[in-house]
């Protein structure tokens, strides 16, 4: 498969003034053209930061290292004009809380029109007609009238559809959906995920679906990468990851997920919480919460290595088992 985006050794440090905190510790990730990748982990694991860093959206307090390429062209350290040409046009992004992600003082039509003018050079009636078509496309009824509405006049699900329409305006190669359904009701959540799947199928667009919920990404991803405390700890094709999780953290996430079939069982939560990035434990960051931790786990950070032909995990217990 042709590589669309390649992330190598991506690091992010936040300058808090009195000290610098590293929140991303060298992330490697490859997204193929037309591929859908799920990025899973608890809040604060670095899922969103990875993509905000790739698009240069983290602001001046963040120092980004490593490399990100899009179709072979570098994205890090390039002039901001280059990045502006990528944002929305090649890689579009939608966010968690659609109500606050849209500008409250501008009409929907204007916010859509802005993207259409920028990426497709459409103005006036042509832009309005295309905006209307896009709203139709994402399943908003009465699209023509909705163009004149303000975001607060729409429901959360509709606002997320507007966000998606706005992302489609640039006909991007890839859509990064950052927790697109977290702020929405369960039924609306399913509708939005259906819409994303349908768009991907029709348009051949690559997609990165960021979620803290393995259940959300399961049906919408070809591959899944699991993140913990600023690192990818396991990465595999979706079916393989579900059938054969290797990292104890992935197993923990799966155990916390209810089965749709099979006998009822008690759901198991992972004990403890995600560590503060400024005070990471020594060695493997998951070790203090890990039921299988041994002394060696706190000595060194385990690298992400192959534990199968197309399956990587960062756990020394799994790696020693594979080697043996």
């Amino acid at each position: 498969m042709e590589t669309l985006v390649s992330i190598r050794g991506l690091t992010v440090d936040f300058d808090l003034g009195h000290r610098v905190v590293r929140v991303l510790h060298g992330v490697d990730l490859t997204i193929g053209r037309g591929q859908a990748v799920g990025l899973v982990g608890e809040s604060g694991s670095g899922k969103s930061v990875t993509w905000l860093a790739a698009l240069g959206l983290l602001g001046p307090r963040a120092h980004v290292g490593g490399s990100v390429t899009l179709g072979g062209e570098p994205l890090l350290g390039v002039p901001v004009r280059r990045l502006e040409a990528v944002r929305g046009r090649r890689i579009a992004m939608i966010f968690q809380d659609p109500a606050s992600a849209l500008n409250p003082v501008h009409r929907i039509g204007r916010q859509l029109g802005e993207a259409l003018r920028l990426h497709r050079g459409l103005e006036g009636q042509a832009a309005r007609a295309e905006a209307r078509r896009l709203l139709d496309r994402v399943g908003i009824a009465d699209a023509g009238r909705r163009l004149d509405d303000y975001p607060h006049q729409l429901s959360g699900g509709m606002n997320q559809r507007v966000m998606i329409a706005m992302a489609l305006a640039g006909e991007p190669d890839m859509l990064v959906a950052d927790e697109p359904t977290t702020a929405l009701d369960a039924t609306i959540q399913a509708q939005i995920l259906d819409l994303l799947r349908e768009l991907r199928r029709d348009g051949g667009m690559s997609m990165v679906l960021i979620s803290h919920d393995l259940g959300v990404v399961a049906e919408n991803s070809d591959r899944i990468a699991v993140m913990y405390a600023g690192r990818i700890v396991e990465e595999a094709p979706t079916a393989d990851l579900f059938a054969n999780p290797r990292h104890p953290y992935t197993s923990g996430l799966l155990a916390a997920l209810p089965d749709l079939e099979g006998p009822r069982r008690r759901l198991v939560a992972i004990p403890g919480t995600v560590p503060d990035p400024a005070h990471l434990p020594p060695g493997c960051a998951f070790a203090p919460r890990c039921p299988q931790a041994i002394d060696a786990c706190i000595r060194a950070v385990p690298p992400l290595e192959h534990v199968g032909s197309d399956h990587r995990a960062a756990c020394i217990r799994v790696q020693t088992a594979v080697a043996a």
Binding site: L57, R87, G88, F95, S100, A101, H106, E114, Y150
Partner: protein, 311 residues
């Protein structure tokens, strides 16, 4: 919309009544105009006659009633000092005050808002810190101190500008700068924090993620939202156009409403003080009403809530 307006109007009228009543009561309890205007050594018969002629011998509630009845007829009373209608005295001073406060307001807005935006866009950099340093200095120094310092430098030492009076527009320069400085400082701080608040909102990130250039993000997406809180402060400044220069007019001997107020209060010239306070309340209330209307225009969320409330 109509109901919204009418409740606002009723509230505005109540505010004005309250101010007028408050002024009326406090003035009559805080000193006897007869003793101040005629001097305490005046013969008791003269003082008695003065009180009788101005109606001060009657019970307070009766005076109050008469006062309101007179206002309803458009009669704001006469000055006890020279017998001229209070309204005339005040109105002839208004242009002089506005000649200071309007240019000062332009100065406040013209410097304060751009400085605040500039500081917010350069947060924590040297430019931001310098701007905020000037801003803190600008509104912590009392205007009479700043006025005197400016006089010392530009009038006494350099001799470039007059130290007081109102003979020409040149006389207005120092008082306008004095008045404008504190307001510009307040506005700069306020605009900065409003901008920082807005720049941290998710829709700003959306606008950037869309591919808009940063300048367009700031102009099209941040400024309209930051305008909402800033309008409140500007409205307050507009509201104090008539009475906002009391101290500065005294320092620079500028013959405006502020100096008239100081003299009238000192003499307990009741009708004049009350007329000025009525003017102040009126401008403040009008400014507030305008701000309320502007909110609806700037912020669509309020507009529809209002329609929903009225329907």
């Amino acid at each position: 919309m109509l109901r919204y307006l009418s409740t606002r109007l009723v509230r505005a009228l109540l505010t004005i009544c309250f101010v007028v009543t408050f002024a009326f009561v406090i003035l009559r309890l805080s000193g006897d105009p007869a003793l101040l205007i005629l001097s305490p050594d005046a013969p008791p018969e003269a003082i008695e006659a003065f009180r009788k002629s101005w109606g001060l011998d009657r019970p307070l509630w009766e005076q109050y009633f008469h006062y309101f009845a007179a206002i309803a007829e458009g009669n704001l009373g006469r000055s006890m000092r020279d017998g001229r209608p209070a309204l005339d005295l005040v109105l002839e001073r208004v242009p002089a005050t506005l000649a200071l406060t309007i240019p000062a307001l332009i100065l406040k807005i013209g410097i304060g808002i751009p400085a605040g935006i500039y500081a917010a866009l350069n947060r924590n950099k040297l430019a931001d810190r310098l701007t905020m340093l000037f801003s803190v200095a600008g509104f912590t120094v009392p205007s009479f101190v700043l006025g005197l310092v400016l006089v010392l430098i530009f009038a006494v030492n350099l001799g470039w500008l007059p130290s007081g009076g109102s003979d020409s527009w040149v006389h207005g320069i120092l008082p306008i700068i004095t008045l404008g400085t504190a307001g510009a400082a307040v506005l700069a701080r306020f605009t900065r924090s409003a901008m920082l608040e807005v720049l941290g909102q998710p829709y700003i990130r959306t606008a950037s993620a869309k591919g808009l250039a940063w300048r367009r993000v700031v102009v099209d997406h941040a400024l309209p939202n930051a305008a909402i809180p800033t309008v409140t402060i500007v409205g307050f400044m507009v509201g104090s156009l008539v009475a906002g220069a009391v101290v500065v007019e005294s320092v620079f001997s500028w013959p405006g409403v502020g100096r008239l107020l100081v003299v009238a209060v000192a003499n307990r010239d009741l009708a004049v003080v009350q007329t000025i306070l009525l003017f102040v309340a009126l401008t403040m209330v009008c400014a507030n009403l305008t701000v309320d209307m502007l909110y609806g225009w700037i912020d669509p969320r309020l507009r529809t809530r209002r329609v929903a409330g009225a329907g």
